[in-house]
Amino acid sequence: MTSPTTSSHTSSSSDKLKDSITDSFNYPHSVEDDPNKIWLEKVFRKHYFNSSSEIELDNYVSEHEFGFRLFDGYIRRHLNFKNKRELIASIIKFSPSDIFCSPARYQHPSASMDQKGWIGADLIFDIDGKDLQLDCARIHNMTFCKNCKLIEKEVHTSCSKCNSSMVQIVELPCQNCIRNLKKEVTKLVEVLHDDFGIENNSINIFFSGNNGFHIHVVDESFFNLSSMKRSSLTQYLLGRGYLVDNLGFRIDKSDNITMLPNKIYYNKGWRARLLSRLHLQLKNHRIDDKFMRKITQIKETNKIGISGVINNQIQNISVKIDPNVTIDIHRIFRLAGTINSKSGLVKSRVNNLTTFDPFKESCIREDALVKLDAFVDTKLFFNGTSYKIKTGINNIPEFVAVYIISKGIGDIYIEKLK
């Protein structure tokens, strides 16, 4: 196991930090007694030393605010770097557990929030596995009890051993989770392109590094949008407050249908999507008798009634984004090409969504064999290989160990020298 990076223990790197203390860097180093963190910090540093070219930045590095979460768990915000080289030097030096960058550009990125001078911000979207509430997730995710440290399979609301409700869900996304997330991404890209008129080459798709996708839109006509305008876009994507009246008819509380004045209903956007899902056709953008008969038929052949059918389809069409991420124009967001410490996977660019496999394309490359003490039996697939992890000591490549330790279901195993 060769380590091409700096010293392998953290006390010396802590000294180095003190040498270079900037105002925002005050590293109390609470990690010395935590072998997992010491080890992760070392592997992350090695990764950034070898693969810094994967980090994606635009041409305005000096106008972004950066944030580092170090292995002490604290985030330093309002960081600013002159250029990519300076940033990468800093990343290798501190080996943060997570690295964030503002989608916004500022006149003074390191100033306090109200002094920054907001220039504009890329439009970003976050699709998170948690928001999909998939059935599979309840089975393959695990529950970690913060009180007695028990790890149980499946999702529970309280610990079965000590009954504590201080439990935390360990997300272990499966291929089905990824497939469903991709579906949301596809829906999002379609609306961004067809409705909002955004060119496909301005839409950048990234795997979030854990259990989701991040979409960055780099387009001048959206760069200056206020928070309020962005909230309109999220409402549009989520279909919140959609009025059925847009389809040319009205449904009252008892599911009666009344026609609205027949005008031209330009068959685009939400209307077109919804009508096509309902297999309803406008003729030359107008409602005709056939259309009417079809609605009545839907109403009569469905137990949930016409409003039930329509609401289900609205749910299907709506894109499950987290609106807050898009609306907050001052936040810092995970930097593309950096490791997500919730999983040890990289937030990596998705070039082909259909074939994309995060467990292949988002792994770090460090693959030296290490010893890991697993808390549970589990099976994982990485790079086309299946790894059967047994409770107890396992000999596995670093990129698998990073995943298990980041998920909190195993410890790095260090032979006691004493």
Binding site: I198, S221, N224, L225, K229, S232, L233, Y236, G241, G269
Partner: protein, 348 residues
């Protein structure tokens, strides 16, 4: 591209229209001259109709030469602004601006509707008005059923896109970066702007001396208004008023208009708290577009007295939030309907 004279008479706020009177060296001091009496009288009647009767009865007198029609309309418009400025009561200003903008809105709609497909010039002129006055670029899609289209971001500059649910982006036809609107919708979209424009024009009226005629008319209008609408007394002080309802009261007090969902919220809430029809009417009559008959009908409808409709309940906080009418404070903690604040108080 120029308007015909007659068209300018309908849009006296346009710079081009104003030039019709300035070139004839019209001065405000001249209004005391008897030759203007009939115009001052017409402006006064218009204001009375708007402000006291709540009706839009104003008619342009077309039985004159084109030149005269435009001049008169511009002068009447200026006189009304002067009178309103001189009255200087916020609620009056707002009510006037609302009716006046509704009047211009009507003209716009009818001009848009009357122009047929090949009458492209009228449409071109109309959206030139929009561009000059409101800085919004509007394109006509002749190929797509004469829809107008506005860039999404420009569309969202208009407050109505946030105020009313059917105008939220999600309820608009959006395609390839544009919001599509038909003729009447585009005029509706500009109603707020037209309204704000008129308020702005009133603010900017600053003549050095006001003609005596104007002062005496505005004084009499003012005292008539003050007799009709004594200051709004604080409603039901023994209850905690939900912040969303309080906000509506404040809006009414400032003479602002209420959106449809705000009216429903206020109406259902008043019914819930057992206010009498007269008490409710007393509140609603302060709205700039108040119409007694319609208001009565709507309130009775909400109370379930009309036809076989059932009573409407006060909307949930969630629904209120959806309509941007929620102004949550600490008192709202843990509730899901504004009425719960009343229980809370009375259960003590």
């Amino acid at each position: 591209m120029r308007f015909g004279n007659k068209d300018l008479a309908r849009y006296p706020f346009l710079r081009e229209a104003l030039s019709y009177v300035t070139k004839n060296e019209f001065k405000i001091e001249d209004l005391d001259n008897s030759e203007f009496y009939h115009l001052v009288e017409k402006a006064k009647r218009k204001i009375e109709d708007y402000v006291f009767e709540g009706k839009l009865a104003y008619q342009i007198d077309y039985n004159k030469t084109h030149e005269i029609i435009v001049q008169e309309e511009v002068i009447i418009f200026l006189i009304s602004l002067l009178l309103i400025k001189s009255i200087s009561i916020d609620s009056v200003t707002k009510k006037f601006a609302l009716f006046e903008s509704m009047r211009f809105e009507r003209y716009l709609i009818s001009d848009l509707d009357n122009s047929n497909q090949d009458d492209k010039t009228v449409k071109l002129i109309l959206y030139k008005i929009f561009e000059d006055l409101f800085q919004t670029k509007v394109d006509l899609e002749v190929d797509i059923f004469n829809f107008y289209k506005i860039k999404i971001s420009d569309y969202l500059d208009h407050p109505i896109a946030f105020q009313e649910r059917e105008w939220n982006l999600v309820n608009r036809t959006v395609d390839k970066g544009y919001v599509y609107l038909d003729g009447s919708e585009i005029v509706r979209l500009f109603r707020n702007e037209l309204y704000l424009l008129i308020i702005d024009r009133i603010k900017k009226m600053n003549p050095e001396v006001l003609p005596d005629m104007i002062i005496s008319i505005s004084d009499s209008l003012k005292s008539r208004w003050e007799k009709m609408y004594p200051p709004l007394r604080a409603p039901g002080h023994q209850d905690i008023l939900p912040p969303c309802i309080q906000h509506i009261y404040n809006q009414i007090d400032k003479g602002e208009n209420l959106s449809h969902p705000a009216r429903v919220l206020l109406g259902t809430f008043l019914i819930y708290t057992n206010k009498s029809m007269e008490e409710m009417i007393d509140l609603f009559k302060r709205l700039p577009d108040y119409n007694e008959q319609i208001t009565r009908y709507q309130l009775e409808h909400l109370a379930g007295k009309r036809g076989n409709t059932k009573q409407y309940f006060v909307p949930s906080c969630e629904k209120i939030k959806l309509n941007n009418l929620c102004f949550e404070t600490v008192v709202c903690k843990g509730i899901s309907n504004p009425t719960q604040l009343i229980y809370r108080k009375s259960s003590k």
